[in-house]
Symmetry: C2
Subunit: 215 residues, 2 copies
DNA sequence: AACACTTACCTAACACCGTTTGGTTATGGG
DNA sequence: CCCATAACCAAACGGTGTTAGGTAAGTGTT
């Protein structure tokens, strides 16, 4: 077959099929040949639409993080701005956990990522944080979100209770973590975020000279 | 050549050479053939010492995290216990940043990792935290460390200042981040850790009924 | 309308990858 | 002394991302 009358492929079709494969089979489970097969096409044909596999993954990453919300700083409340950003970011990552290693280790130089970074930094400074602190806070919050999304903690425990009994008495309930992994992940993230923001409240009060407890 | 009079290889030799390659060329830059060449040996020979590449990487990961310090809970001070753990963990990861994606996404089921988790959980409970909270705090702290180690934030900025001028006014200093990436990473982590622990102090006071400000 | 250019598919191949098979020889234990 | 095991090797298997070159359909220009 040469060029078909109506196109068989498009970036959207390829992107969606690839993400479906990643969600199902993991990041390592995506190969160009398998993806092509899924689309009833030969692997080489994909290169008419994406120059490399990496470019395809970057496009998928951009789509996943597309609806991360950085508009919460508009009213000058930096705390709720951070909360909305962090929660929407984590939710976006949690929807496609197999893509997290790629998103977290790849460079976020794409336009949309920079626009978000700009909004966050600007929002923090407008609310009264010194620029340098704003940079650190942006990074810190990313640490929390990315770390939570990598979620290697709760998933890292073996489902078999016998492993823990006797040998690690403090972890005697650890096997239950596997059943409730999502719940533990969520609560851990909320605890981390709340504690972090409480700590920032304290710091903010010290910086602005406000001696009242903002909590 | 068949079996040599004195062994050419050992797990230690292989492990060290592999880690050197990873540090130099990145995680994807390690192949069994390249590693074998570095050791003046054929690739198949490595399989006399490690069953798979994954097993080799797990061994490297265990070595990297070997000197993570979880002894700081001994005196009943949970805050300094967490600080010592988090700092030593982050330092271990920062020494070999190319291994972080593997360590952070691989399962931490190995014996040493479980022993550490047991010490942390036990230390928190002994200091007065409810068991469930102790679980969440352990996970939260891991989030911070792993997120910081993935460090995609500061590294994600392009070194070229012209990209930022005009388009992202709030990031006009962002190109300087690349020069001071290590410093920004370190300060961001310390800010995150301090704020998180300050927030936990507040939470702990509420739980134990202590109304005084512990800071 | 005729022509050139570009696009979207194909087949075939290249250079790599992790791993396995099967062979050879030295070592260490009974 | 013998023999199972261990540590090396060459060669191959099935997979990977990617490229080269071919063909025919679509698109734009004169």
């Amino acid at each position: 077959m040469a060029r078909p009358k109506t196109p068989l492929l498009s970036t959207e079709l390829i992107r969606d099929a690839a993400l479906r494969l990643i969600d199902r089979d993991g990041l390592a489970g995506l190969s160009m040949r398998k993806l092509a097969q899924e689309l009833n096409v030969q692997a080489a044909s994909l290169y008419s639409h994406y120059a490399t596999k990496d470019e395809l993954l970057a496009d998928i990453a951009a789509q996943i993080t597309h609806d991360v919300d950085t508009t919460g700083f508009a009213d000058g409340n930096w705390r709720s701005g951070l909360e909305i950003w962090a929660r929407s970011y984590r939710a976006a990552l949690a929807r496609h956990p197999n893509m997290v290693p790629f998103i977290a280790s790849g460079p976020g130089r794409r336009d949309a990522a920079l626009r978000r970074a700009n909004a966050i930094h600007g929002g923090l400074v407008a609310a009264g944080w010194p620029p340098r602190e704003a940079t650190l806070i942006g990074a810190s919050t990313t640490y929390l979100v990315v770390g939570a999304a990598m979620n290697s903690f709760a998933r890292g425990f073996d489902d078999d209770a016998r492993v823990y009994r006797d040998r690690y008495p403090n972890l005697s309930q650890a096997h239950r973590l596997a059943e409730h992994a999502d719940e533990v992940d969520h609560e851990s993230f909320e605890l981390a975020l709340k504690s972090f923001l409480d700590g920032l409240d304290y710091r903010f009060a010290a910086i602005t000279g406000d001696s009242s407890d903002p909590r």
